[in-house]
């Protein structure tokens, strides 16, 4: 069970502190940084690294949400409970997060319709908070049955998209990746890599696609916000030239 949620959901934030500080550096110190940061490949790498770390962090944290409530006064080992999932889960989440976060701005520019809805960090943070809340609800709230749980989470995910994204490309990509992710998880479980305690949708839990979808939207949001910085810098640079 503990492997379940976070299998794909690791694409949100909180490693953002790093991001902010780094982006702060980008903004203020126009020293030798400027050439490095405006370099397209370097920028891409930095963004990818940030997104990856965010994904890994969220995978670990959200995994903890799944841990049953053990009241232990002498917690045996905090470290082991943090890394209770297999080593590949955070890595997969991080990679997926980086890919999605880079893919969203890329698709935006390809489609030629830049995303303009609520482009600010506070909105991104709100989005991340809601995503963590959705995970929280799926882990902690006792639902009467699985259908209800899945429906609620689906509604919440759609609400997340409507509140923070509202772009057709975001919706489409979210659906696609959620579908792909579900497929991959099914295959993994089918091959016995891991399993769910109480599967109700073939081999997995039925709410997994919703979580995937919400995660994709969140990571896309972060990725777009990060890309905004690059955009600004290129603009600045052209000004300077």
């Amino acid at each position: 069970m503990s492997l379940t949620l976070t299998a794909m959901s690791g694409r949100a934030v909180t490693g953002d502190q790093q991001q902010w500080s780094r982006s702060g550096e980008m903004q203020h110190s126009r020293g030798p940084y400027i050439s490095v940061i405006t370099n397209r490949t370097t920028n891409l790498l930095i963004r990818g690294a940030m997104l990856f770390s965010v994904g890994v962090f969220l995978a670990l944290v959200l995994n903890l949400l799944q841990v049953q409530r053990n009241i232990t006064l002498f917690p045996p080992d905090v470290i082991t409970s943090i890394f209770s999932s297999a080593w590949w889960v955070p890595l997969c989440c991080g990679t997926a997060a980086a890919m999605i976060g880079l893919l969203y701005p890329c698709i935006d520019s390809r489609l030629g319709e830049p995303h303009k809805f609520k482009r600010e960090w506070s909105s991104v943070m709100r989005c991340v908070a809601v995503f963590v809340g959705i995970n929280h609800a799926s882990a902690k709230v006792d639902f009467a049955n699985n259908v209800q749980l899945s429906l609620t989470l689906a509604a919440l995910s759609i609400g997340l998209w409507w509140t923070f994204d509202r772009s057709r490309s975001g919706f489409g990509l979210g659906i696609c990746i959620a579908f792909l992710g579900t497929l991959v998880t099914q295959l993994l479980v089918y091959n016995g890599v891991f399993q769910y305690t109480s599967p109700d949708f073939l081999y997995i839990r039925s709410w997994l696609p919703c979580i995937f979808f919400a995660g994709v939207i969140t990571m896309g949001n972060i990725g777009r916000q990060l890309a905004l910085y690059e955009y600004k810098f290129i603009q600045d640079k052209s000004h300077q030239d």
Binding site: T72, F74, M125, A137
Partner: protein
């Protein structure tokens, strides 16, 4: 018009009206909002505070029955957790044991060895106790809580904690409950210590668990002064059997009666434990909170364009938080007790409620036109955003409604909270935040006001027209003009907050008083709680010194007298399994002392040697002294959680054990006596007490010193200006380097743009003003008259004798003709020369007046003007040739001239109708200006076309003005007169001969010669109130009494010349060549503080009001707050700020400042702060 539009309009109108209301009555609305917040939060008081502390509930023991699982009707105060059977019943047997009487032959180990040894007997007794009655035979084995394995991580405790059996803990567990092990243990104390964790331990330790009392009460140590050992045997029962426990209690009491024990045994305490949050649970929680704070940070960062960013951010957070509290309070009020974990859902609630509306409101209000009235701005801003706010609100309500229909209890509850939270948030936004915003915007407006009205501020009512004619007489103003701002308001705006805090602290001496009060309280607490055992120490001291006879006689504690009764009728001695120890050996001794033949008589050492076992209130519920984690940790060893469950604690069974010295000696281990004993244990115990005392004292002292140091550092950091010494230089701030406070928020800057009066071709030499007009004279001898309010140039009086051609000719010459004027006195021409060579060719723009150069005396060039005064519309100009001229300021015509003197006029004073001229040779001439009105007799050529001037009371163009020398004091001073000031009917001169002379203006009579300076006089100040201050080249400043001619005070403050002196009613301000401005108290002559300026700053000073000082500097003028010495503002006069210093500075009556700035004049209107009234 669609319905939607109608609705929109209505909403917008409603918001507009609401905005007007909020901005009009800010204070009542904020009060009302605070009251409603408090009212709504009131029900929260009934909620239990969050935390993991256990909750207690006490029931009677007699009619106890296991509570039902389902709540049965109404049980009044019965808490809702009191359902079902408890996890366990705890029965503690509290043992107090002592060896008595204490013998000198005993060693300290005996204090606890044999008392601890008794635990094995008791354990055996408890384990073997069997109660049999009609319902069967019950033993402890059937009732106790059977435990299995220890928790896997606790292997090291395996040897001491019971496994696979009854949970029964006692100090005997240290020795596996085997007497033999204990007896063969050479050092029991070491065994106990061995299991203690190293380092800090706060919660229950193993020693606490086994002893059942806190360490310091157990008495197991080498330095036990009371020689009483206390421990408990804790029996954990799974079911409650009143009869078994009753018989156990009776049996134990029989064996070991506690004579004076009056502990109550009819109450049972149920302790409910809250859920403990593990670290694993905490991490996601912390993550959500981090995200929440990031959200709040990013949101409030967007608040911009307001007066106080932080204030508004705080208001926004307060809005959200109090709306949450209100929602919880309201839900509680209507019976919806929150079952959700508040800490977990809180971040999500904040995210749902959001800070967006607040930001939208701020932005909208800020973007309204600035020149509107505040309440209109608020109203407009509100109504602009009304539609989107309502739309968002409706959307959120809809989403929450959908969430409510998921029919999941947790989500429903969340939704309910969210709905109430949203509504209360809306309420607070509309009332609280809007009002705060209006206050903020109003403060902002003031700064705006200053920025937008640079010239008009502080001006008297509008002037009649651009052309000011001479019918406007100079209104003599008796008192110096004070600008309309009150000082406090000014200070509030300008002073950084941290400084205000420091001033507040300094004024009230708050820190000092708090420290004093804190120390007193601390000492009080120290004495009261007695951490170092001072009281017991003192008591022991007193009892040791008391007379010996008291102790042997009847002053016995009551139990000693009662005990023999028990002894006589002790039925249990025969039942005792082991050799019955005499339960009360002490009473025996006493009784021997009383009745029988005394064994040894009253032994002198015996009184302190009798350990007294007393039972007090605190023993009744001794478990309370334990950590509240005591029971959870005991159970957690066996993987039993007490979270959300409760245990029942039964009344303790008190047991008193007295041991004879012989028993103690028998129980000794052979090594006990060989142990290196602390030579005199009593002293070491004392020493220990003393050491504790010293430690506490040292810690307190260190803390005090640290606090003082911290406060000192804070003071030094926060209060950078130091009074009374030239400390940190107040650097002049460059442009763009505006003063900022710690928050990076600069105080409101009113961009004063100085009005530059251009026209002179050379540096300005003299400057005179009477408040309405302004006359200036440049080195070229040209006099210009300006309107002091508009800055218009009214008249140009060129240097007569210089035509335009001559002037251009002059410009071509590299060396101008130097008239041989200075025969008897130092040559001042080099000054003029240098300026001539650098003369800018800008003079062609002003056409020379055709009527000007008619003076018969000077053909090619005329002597330059050295002094000038302006009264009414007459300009008195003193020339270097000694000629005094009177010009009409408006018409630019020469009205009169006097050439009685030959030495150059260095200074002029023009008061009433008298002119005083000081000459270079030290003589002083008094002139009288007489105005005759014989019409039509024009002695001097007036402007022909301007005869139709209206009549005016004084100095009309038709008047004949004559200027006559009334008296000439030939040798007023030995050396040149440097300063001349006139006020209040006195003329004061200062000279290089180190003296100051005071003359009466009417009769030119010298009243006093004031001596006191050891250098030439460089500055004099006299005003209407007859205050006379003088400063000299020696850096001294003297204050004189003009009426008596006596020196009031004499202070030294400058390293060089005093260049300028000004007085206010309370202080004297001086500036010197050392670029220091000193502020002195006028009555005491004490230097209040000094301001170090940059090198090369001008020496000119001016006082605008009681608290506003203006100084001239390099291309700028600076405004200072006189009360605190803070630089308020620096106004830069021109683009090229460097090079040209302000040498002369005049404060006009309308709170404007005129200063020279190279060849230009600069008119600066003082920023006045006017409270904007709605």
């Amino acid at each position: 018009m669609t319905l939607r539009e109608q609705l929109r309009e209505k909403i917008s109108a409603a918001f507009y009206r609401h905005g007007l209301l909020c901005a009009s009555y800010p204070v009542p609305i904020i009060l009302f909002t605070s009251a409603s917040i408090l009212t709504c939060c009131y029900p929260l008081l009934r909620l239990p505070l969050p935390g993991t502390g256990p909750v207690e509930f006490t029931t009677g023991l007699r009619d106890y029955s296991v509570p039902f699982h389902e709540p049965q009707g109404d049980f009044g105060e019965r808490p809702d957790w009191y359902r079902g059977p408890p996890v366990a019943y705890i029965q503690q047997v509290l043992v107090k044991a002592a060896v008595s009487p204490w013998d000198n032959s005993l060693v300290p180990v005996d204090v606890f060895r044999s008392p601890l040894g008794r635990v094995f007997n008791l354990l055996e007794e408890i384990r073997n106790h069997v109660h049999s009655d009609s319902s069967g035979i019950r033993s402890l084995e059937s009732l106790c809580l059977q435990v299995t394995d220890l928790f896997p991580g606790l292997r090291r405790m395996q040897s001491v904690l019971p496994e696979h059996g009854c949970l029964l803990v006692s100090p005997g567990n240290y020795w596996q409950n085997q007497r033999e092990l204990f007896d063969s243990d050479p050092d029991p104390f070491k065994t106990i210590q061995k299991h203690e964790p190293k380092g800090l331990h706060t919660s229950a330790t193993l020693r606490d668990l086994l002893f059942g009392v806190p360490v310091k009460y157990s008495g197991v140590s080498h330095y036990n002064r009371k020689r009483v050992v206390t421990y408990t045997i804790t029996v954990v029962l799974s079911s409650y059997d009143a009869r078994f426990l009753g018989s156990l209690r009776a049996r134990l009491k029989q064996l070991h009666p506690s004579a004076n024990c009056t502990l109550r045994d009819d109450h049972m305490v149920h302790v409910h434990f809250k859920e403990e949050i593990g670290i694993a649970e905490l991490i996601p929680l912390v993550t959500t909170y981090i995200i929440l704070f990031a959200y709040i940070y990013f949101s409030t960062r967007k608040i911009d364009m307001v007066k106080s960013k932080w204030g508004l951010a705080l208001a926004a957070v307060v809005t959200v938080l109090s709306s949450l509290l209100m929602s919880v309070g309201l839900c509680t009020l209507f019976g919806l007790t929150p079952t959700l974990n508040g800490g977990e859902i809180f971040p999500y609630l904040v995210v749902v409620i959001g800070l967006e509306n607040v930001l939208v409101l701020t932005k909208s209000v800020v973007s309204t036109p600035v020149d509107l009235e505040v309440k209109l701005r608020i109203a407009q801003g509100l109504s602009n955003e009304s539609w989107s706010i309502m739309k968002n609100m409706a959307t959120e309500l809809c989403i929450i409604l959908i969430g409510y229909f998921t029919l999941v209890p947790a989500i429903q509850e969340f939704c309910l909270f969210a709905v109430v939270g949203l509504v209360s948030d809306f309420f607070l936004q509309m009332f609280f935040f809007t009002t705060v915003l209006s206050i903020d915007i109003r403060r902002m407006e003031l700064a705006d006001l200053n920025r937008r009205l640079p010239a008009e501020a502080g001006m008297p009512p509008p002037k009649p027209g651009p052309l000011r004619t001479r019918e406007v007489p100079p209104p003599p103003r008796p008192s110096p003009h004070t600008i309309t701002l009150q000082t406090p308001a000014f200070r509030n705006l300008r002073l950084p907050k941290r400084l205000r805090v420091v001033y507040f602290l300094a004024r009230t001496r708050l820190a000092q008083r708090i420290i004093m009060a804190g120390t007193v309280i601390w000492i009080g607490i120290l004495v009261y709680t007695d951490p170092a055992g001072i009281r017991t120490y003192l008591a022991a001291q007193v009892s040791e010194q008391s007379p010996l006879g008291d102790t042997g006689g009847g002053g016995l504690p009551p139990h000693l007298g009662v005990a023999p009764v028990f002894r006589g009728g002790d039925p249990t001695s025969t039942l005792s399994i082991h050799r019955a120890p005499d339960p009360t050996p002490l009473p025996e001794n006493q009784s021997q002392g009383h009745h029988g033949p005394p064994r040894a008589g009253p032994i002198p050492q015996s009184p302190p040697a009798v350990p007294q076992i007393t039972w007090g209130e605190e023993d009744e519920e001794g478990w309370r002294r334990l950590s509240f984690r005591h029971w959870p940790s005991l159970f957690s060893y066996y993987n039993i959680t007490l979270a959300k469950r409760y245990i029942s604690i039964l009344p303790v069974i008190p047991i008193t054990v007295h041991l004879t010295p012989q028993e103690a000696i028998d129980a000794r281990h052979p090594q006990d006596t060989r142990h290196p004993q602390p030579p005199i244990p009593k002293i070491s115990a004392d020493l220990q007490t003393d050491l504790t005392l010293y430690k506490v004292a040292a810690l307190g002292l260190a803390a005090g010193v640290l606090l003082v140091l911290l406060l000192f550092c804070l003071y030094r950091v926060l209060c950078p200006r130091n009074y009374g010494q030239n400390g940190v230089p107040h650097g002049r701030r460059r442009r763009g380097d505006l003063p900022c406070d710690d928050y990076g928020y600069s105080p409101p800057v009113s961009e004063i743009s100085p009005l530059l009066l251009r026209g002179h071709s050379m540096d300005i030499e003299c400057l005179a003003s009477d408040g309405m007009l302004l006359a200036s004279c440049c080195l070229a001898g040209q006099i210009r008259v300006w309107d002091a309010q508009t800055g218009d140039c009214l008249t140009v009086i060129p240097n007569h004798g210089m035509t335009g051609a001559q002037e251009s000719e002059l410009r071509r010459r590299t060396t101008p003709s130097r008239p041989t004027l200075f025969i008897d006195q130092p040559d001042l021409t080099p000054l003029i020369d240098t300026n001539f060579t650098s003369q800018p060719p800008s003079h062609l723009s002003t056409p020379p007046s055709p009527s000007a150069y008619a003076s018969p005396s000077s053909a090619s060039s005329s002597p330059s003007v050295w002094a000038m005064e302006l009264r009414g519309n007459l300009i008195a100009a003193g020339r270097s040739s000694g000629k005094l001229e009177l010009w009409d300021a408006v018409e630019g015509s020469l009205r009169c001239s006097n050439e009685d003197g030959v030495s150059g006029i260095t200074a002029l004073a023009f008061l009433n109708n008298r002119i005083v001229a000081a000459r270079l040779n030290g003589s002083l001439d008094f002139f009288t200006v007489e105005i005759n009105k014989p019409l039509g007799l024009l002695q001097y050529r007036g402007p022909p076309g301007r005869s139709s001037m209206p009549q005016s009371p004084c100095y009309s163009s038709e008047d004949v003005i004559s200027c006559q020398l009334t008296r000439s004091v030939q040798c007023a001073h030995q050396k040149p007169i440097t300063v001349l000031r006139a006020a209040a009917g006195r003329v004061v001169t200062g000279s290089q001969d180190h003296t100051v002379r005071v003359y009466r203006l009417e009769d030119s009579c010298c009243l006093f010669t004031l001596q006191g300076h050891s250098g030439g006089i460089t500055a004099i100040y006299i005003d209407q109130t007859m205050v006379l201050a003088s400063g000299g080249q020696d850096g001294a400043i003297c204050l004189w009494d003009v009426l008596t001619g006596s020196r009031v005070s004499h202070v030294y403050g400058h390293c060089g010349d005093v260049t300028s002196l000004v007085c206010t009613t309370s202080c004297v301000i001086s500036s010197g060549l050392d670029d220091l401005i000193c502020i002195w108290d006028r009555s005491t002559g004490i230097k209040l503080y000094s301001i170090q300026q940059e090198v090369g700053c001008g020496a000119s000073l001016g006082v605008i009001s009681e608290s506003l000082l203006v100084t001239g500097g390099q291309g700028c003028v600076s405004f200072w707050d006189l009360n605190f010495g803070d630089l308020l503002q620096t106004v830069y006069l021109g683009q090229s700020s460097d090079g040209q210093g302000v040498r002369q500075l005049l404060v006009l009556d309308n709170a404007a400042i005129v200063c020279d700035f190279g060849s230009e004049l600069s008119l600066v209107y003082v920023p006045s702060v006017l409270e904007k009234l709605d």
